[in-house]
Structure formats: structure tokens, C-alpha cells
Symmetry: C2
Subunit: 220 residues, 2 copies
């Protein structure tokens, strides 16, 4: 049975993993007959957002690994201890957690952004191990930041400023809809805009189904 | 467009809504061309559970409506203000939140359990309005507690103690698998065991797809 690492960054689109994307990926992996291996770093969230009002809850503290366990129904491991030997492919779920907890993209005013060290290491090692990588929603910024020198073709949505960052860091931006994916023609890297563009959960599910299928096909 | 009320009880299987069940229901409703209307009571959770360790986080406080907004991507309304005019059918998502926040089933040692008043009112009013009701996972205890005198046929899983409660309160227990549903032969009430029995997200998704389809078919 193929094992697919899924990287979570908390539980909730505004300060962690986009919950729909995470669950839809778990569903697509299970329906494909593969096993999901959920991973998240054991670090504090940079902030806690009230998802009803959108306001930051000052003084509130939550842990990325602990909150990710809500989505994973308890079955999630510390990403810092993971290596590419633990999975056949690795998929990053979107949500602001990728830009607030897994990197400082949401806060960075200068260049370059910092990617959380265990996350940067795992992206690098997985790429060098020749195992497929999938990136949903905003998470292609992680690929661009860590693997910019590879000049990857990545989706990110349609925001010109975000797309410009990818290009500035050496990657190529490819425009796709939420239900579409793009695979780099030369490398085992697949991405899809998901909720960067998706207006409905069905559209996002279509894109995720395609991304998971392409990632599984890419496993050697 | 048909509107389906979805009742959430927080965000996480051990102290709120079962996240997979909630997202899979949102997906099934959207794919069926209907609109989901998320509802949750604006009350404090009875407890906060660390989903990594299973331990209760003493002193921690979270609000059911605010946490439910994580699943609903912000689009969730106060259940206390909802009436059956707001939707064409009403589906209750499972998770311990149904037994800890929407009722005191998880804590009740005596009989009968107490159902949160706005939840009890909405179940009653929806039933009397002739609109279909769907109950996933553990949430049929709410139907049994509020509508016991209707002698409904309900699923709950295979735990004899829980099934005995349904019977004690006047309902009939029907055994189904996670991918199956049961509709009461005489009333517009559909239920499915979901994660009470489900070993995989695919199984649970199959049951939820069937429940949503049956609930939609039952709308007059």
C-alpha cells in the first residue's frame, strides 16, 4: 500500500490548515487505496484567529501539532522526526497555516521568507529522494522558497503579487482553475490552486482528486 | 436551490463536530446542487480535548459557534436564531460535541438527558414543520431524546448500551453499517452510523452521500 505524507499546519483556514482541503485529500488518498500519514510540526501557532469574526485572539496560544490532530482524528506525527523513508509521496495542504506557521510568508515584508526548518528540510530531502511532491492552495510558496533554484512550474492562484514572488524566487507561475492541476514537465512536483480560487467545495474536491491521482501516478 | 441546515457542535471529534463528517456532508450537499446553511449554538464547550493525547485541557475554554466557524470557513449562524423557515431540511453532524455540547449525554448518569434548549426546539419545530431531518453518528440520541414519543427508527452503531438508551426513550434501534443509512418508514427521519462504526473515511463518505441524497429526496 502506498503511503502519502500529508503536511498539516493547524486546524482552520485563517491560522492553520484549510480543513476542507485536508479532509478532501484524506478522502482522495483513501479512495485511491493508499494510506495517509499525517505530519505537522510541534511548534506554537503564530496566532489564533476567531474564524467567526476574523479577529486575532490576543494572548491565545495553540500548538500546530495538537490542533492538526483534530483533523487527523489523533493520528498525526511530529514532522521534525519524519524522513522520506516514511512515505512514498508528500502533499502539502493549504490554509494560512502554510504562510503563518510553516513559513513567515504572511508576515514577511523583506526577502527571502523563512520556511520552518524541519519543513524546509523535508521538502528538500523528499525532492532529492525522487519522491513526488504535491502542493495545494498557497503552499506552493514553500516549494518556491525552498526549491527556487529548480525553476519549478507551480500554480498559486491569480493574485499578481503572490505570483510575482514565485517568479522572483526563480519559479514559473502557471495559471490553473481550482479544479485543475499542473505538473512540472520535468520534475515530480504537482500543484493546484484549491481555495486560492475555489468558489465551491466541489470545485476544490475535483482539483484535489486530480492532484492525488497525479501524485500517485508519479510514484516510481 | 434547496437549503440544507447543517448543525455543528464545535471543531474536532472529541469535543465538537466530527470534522470529516462535517466536510463530507458539505461536499455531498454542494455536489447535489443544494446550499448548506451551517448552524451552531453560541455556547461555551463543556470541555476542550487535546486531540493528540486525548486529555482534557483543564481551564481551557472555547465557544461552540466560534470553533464551528473553522469548519464552515466563517459562514455559520447562531442556531438559537434559526427557524425551519431558514432551510428545507436539517442534518446533524456527529462527534462528541453532540453528546457534550448539544446535550449532556456524555456526562448524564441519570435519565433523561438534557438537550441544549435551542437545539431541542429546532428539532421539534423542524419535525412538526414536516421537513426532513438527518442524523449522523451519535447525533440520533438527540432525535431519540427530543422525539422519543414518536417511536422513530434510528441507527446509532453497535454499542449495546447506547442502543438500549434509544429503546428506553421510546425509539427503535436499527443496525446499519457506516456506508448504509436507514429512513424511518413513516417519518422524514434518516440516520447513518458514520464514525460510530466507520473504519475508513471512504466508508463514512458513502454513508453520508446516501444520507444527503435521501434527505434531499424527502423534501416535499
Amino acid at each position: 500500500m502506498k503511503r502519502i505524507g500529508l503536511v498539516l499546519s493547524g486546524c482552520g483556514v485563517n491560522d492553520g490548515s484549510e480543513i476542507h482541503e485536508a479532509v478532501l485529500t484524506l478522502l482522495a488518498v483513501d479512495r485511491a487505496g493508499a494510506e495517509a500519514v499525517c505530519l505537522a510540526p510541534d511548534i506554537e501557532q503564530t496566532e489564533v484567529v476567531n474564524h467567526l469574526t476574523g479577529a486575532v485572539e490576543k494572548g491565545a496560544a495553540r500548538n500546530v501539532l495538537v490542533e492538526s490532530a483534530r483533523i487527523a482524528r489523533g493520528k498525526v506525527s511530529d514532522l521534525a522526526k519524519a524522513t522520506p523513508a516514511d512515505f512514498d509521496a508528500l502533499i502539502f495542504i493549504g490554509g494560512y497555516g502554510a504562510a503563518k506557521n510553516l513559513s513567515d510568508y504572511a508576515y514577511a515584508e523583506g526577502e527571502p521568507i523563512e520556511v520552518e526548518p524541519s519543513v524546509a528540510r523535508l521538502i528538500s530531502e523528499t525532492f532529492r529522494a525522487g519522491k513526488p511532491l504535491g502542493f495545494l492552495c498557497i503552499s506552493p510558496i514553500l516549494a518556491a522558497a525552498v526549491l527556487g533554484q529548480e525553476h519549478l512550474e507551480l500554480t498559486i492562484g491569480q493574485d499578481p503579487e503572490t505570483a510575482a514572488k514565485l517568479v522572483q524566487w526563480g519559479s514559473h507561475h502557471v495559471t490553473r482553475t481550482a479544479s485543475e492541476i499542473h505538473r512540472d514537465p520535468h520534475r515530480l512536483v504537482v500543484s493546484s490552486p484549491a481555495y486560492m480560487l475555489g468558489k465551491s467545495i466541489s470545485e476544490v474536491a475535483d482539483g484535489i482528486d486530480r492532484l492525488v491521482a497525479e501524485v500517485l501516478r508519479s510514484i516510481s
